[in-house]
């Protein structure tokens, strides 16, 4: 396999910011096919901003984001839709549509983008719900689900069109340790079973050590990546003391 084909996501010289300030400057990194990749950093270092650029919600100041070789930044409407189809996103709150039941939420991308029969769409949606352990909550409204269930339903909706990449924004935020560990187990299962590439922004060190293959650490002072590598290796061998402290959960 050529190196380009191994890279699921390629970020080239990405510079992002808001009206009056730069958040990240000339950031470069690659995410390989089938790995679990985590973006770490202190509060305010631009993790969420970076994620929103990776999924095309924001337009960067300069640079490019390639999703399996195609530029999301420069894509025209039709091409953009094709690229968007390659990934799913789990938002922090789950972002389920409140007026639709759980199974209708999961079915929605199928309704909009496929010509399958009603029966086939229901079958697929229910199979995804079973995959995340929510088959019993199919007909409930999102408001009647707990936070952890909403996130799992969000994952089911995100993978219903079988994307190659799944982006997770703070998957364990607001969850108790057991539910959060359950979510980690689900991620590992999806990586093994479906070969999905994961990109996650998180603060939860326990889940990073248990699922992430590689992490990057963002530093607000240099407005870029300060360290990159497997989390356990960085914890002991990162050249920057604060990265080691960060990964050991010590106060500075």
């Amino acid at each position: 396999m050529s190196p380009a084909a191994r890279n699921m996501i390629e970020v080239r010289d990405l510079t992002v910011g808001y009206d009056d300030r730069l958040v990240l400057e000339r950031v470069n990194f690659q995410v390989r096919r089938g790995e679990v990749f985590a973006i770490l950093g202190a509060s305010g270092s631009g993790k969420s901003t970076l994620l929103k650029h990776l999924i095309g919600l924001y337009q960067p100041i300069a640079g490019d984001v390639l999703i399996s070789g195609a530029s999301l930044v420069h894509a025209e409407r039709e091409e953009r839709l094709l690229i968007l189809r390659k990934f799913g996103v789990l938002y922090q709150s789950g972002a389920l549509f409140g007026s639709l039941t759980t199974v209708e939420n999961v079915r929605l991308p199928l309704d909009e983008f496929t010509e399958l029969s009603e029966m086939a769409k229901d079958l697929i949606a229910l199979s995804k719900l079973r995959l995340v352990g929510l088959e019993s909550a199919a007909t409930k409204l999102p408001a009647d689900l707990s936070g952890g269930m909403q996130k799992r339903a969000g994952i089911a909706r995100a993978i219903v069109l079988d994307p190659c990449i799944l982006f997770l924004d703070e998957p364990s935020a607001g969850l108790d340790p057991i539910t959060s560990a359950g979510l980690d187990a689900l991620i590992r299962e999806l990586v093994r079973g479906l070969g999905i590439t994961f990109v996650m922004v998180t603060h939860e060190l326990a889940s990073i050590y248990s699922v992430a293959d590689r992490v990057i650490v963002l530093d607000p002072h240099i407005r870029g990546i300060v360290a990159e590598g497997p989390p356990a290796w960085l914890r002991d061998h990162a050249p920057q003391p604060w990265v080691r402290q960060f990964l050991n959960r010590e106060a500075t």
Binding site: R85, V89, E112
Partner: protein, 380 residues
């Protein structure tokens, strides 16, 4: 010279000034948020008169909170004693630690009271410009949505009708009692108010004509649209705004679905269906409101109905209904636009709800004025 101050403050202070300009200030007692403001003024007045070179402040007997520390910090910067050096002594380690959290930069920044506001002309220009840009955006959005609605009606199978009927029910059926009551009362008021001047010409029977025309051409559609803006437009803005805050709109976007296609079109179609129905209802309720007044004036019901019949033509009804369709599009799309424009955080939802009602009513009246001018020219 030593002055001991017995006063009604819980802070006691000894101030001694030597002829060479060196002074000692010993503070004791409680310097807290309660006593600090009065003491601050007293101390400032006292020190303003004295010519000092050096001031030593002894606080070993003082109990102080953050307010007291702010005073001590202010004192130690020398702001109360220009030209003198000030030193604090007797601080406990805890207070010393807290005092270090006061910073010179903060203090200097607070000293600069330069008003940074721009000129009046600048402000007026900027405000006008942003208002015009906003208006342009609103009109563009209405155009985009209208086009979308037409395209969707050409392919009705792709439309989410379930959502249309859900909105129609929530926004419409429940609005009928309010619209009925409101226009009934307005009809009554108009009948009462016009009966008197018309009586002077012996033309009281024409109250019925007036009411019929006003209700079908003007007040029926306008009142219905204003109620629609207040009851349903605000609900649209709040619903879409909450979805924005909740990242549901982002989710739509990354799924490759357009919020206009997915959420706005349904609401606008519901608005188009709803506004004429509400308007017809408002017309009837307004007429009904006038009837008791006319009966009270001694006209038989049959005569009143004949008058209304003779005054109203199909054109009047058509004008009222075509207006109401335009109003329905305006209210629904502007409210949705405000919802989509919602910023970050829960407070933004409240703001966009307010903005939706204000902008809708403004544009309704604006469109009504355009209608009035056009129909006047056409009738001539």
């Amino acid at each position: 010279m030593t002055v001991a101050r017995p006063n009604d403050l819980p802070v006691r202070w000894d101030f001694s000034l030597r002829p060479d300009g060196t002074a000692k200030l010993a503070l004791s007692g409680d310097l807290d948020a309660e006593s600090t403001p009065a003491f601050w003024t007293t101390l400032q007045a006292e020190l303003a008169g004295a010519k000092l070179v050096r001031l030593e402040v002894d606080v070993s007997q003082l109990v102080s909170d953050s307010a007291g520390l702010a005073l001590l910090y202010y004192l130690s910067t020398g702001a109360m004693t220009p030209g003198a050096s000030v030193s604090l002594s007797g601080l406990t380690p805890e207070l010393q630690h807290l005092l270090r959290s006061f910073s010179k930069e903060d203090f200097d920044a607070l000293q600069e009271h330069e008003p940074t506001g721009s000129s009046f002309v600048d402000d007026v220009g900027t405000a006008t410009w942003s208002w015009l840009r906003d208006l342009r955006q609103q009109i563009e959005f209405i155009g985009e949505v209208t086009l979308g609605v037409i395209m969707n009606l050409c392919r009705p199978r792709r439309m989410r009708w379930k959502e249309v009927f859900r909105v129609f029910e929530a926004a419409g059926v429940n609005a009928f009692p309010v619209v009925a009551l409101l226009t009934f009362l307005v009809g009554m008021v108009i009948a009462f108010e016009s009966a008197q001047p018309l009586a002077q010409f012996g033309a009281q029977v024409f109250v019925a004509n007036l009411l019929g025309l006003v209700m079908s051409r003007e007040l029926g559609p306008v009142m219905a649209a204003i109620m629609l803006a207040g009851r349903s437009g605000s609900a649209f803005a709040a619903e879409l705004g909450t979805m924005k805050v909740n990242e549901e709109l982002n989710a739509l976007e990354t799924m490759g679905l357009s919020p206009v296609q997915f959420l706005v079109i349904q609401r606008v179609v519901a608005g188009i269906l709803l506004a004429p129905v509400l308007t017809v209802f408002a017309m009837y309720a307004g007429l009904l409101g006038g009837i008791p007044v006319l009966l009270g004036l001694g006209f038989p019901l049959r005569m009143v109905l004949l008058q209304v019949q003779s005054a109203l033509h199909f054109g009047d009804l058509a004008e009222g209904l075509s207006k109401s369709i335009v109003f329905g599009v305006i209210v629904a799309s502007i409210s949705c636009l405000r919802g989509l424009q919602t910023g970050e955080g829960p407070r933004a939802v409240g703001e966009s709800t307010t903005r939706s009602v204000v902008s809708s009513i403004l544009l309704i009246i604006f469109a009504d004025a355009v209608f009035a001018a056009v129909t006047y020219t056409l009738r001539k």
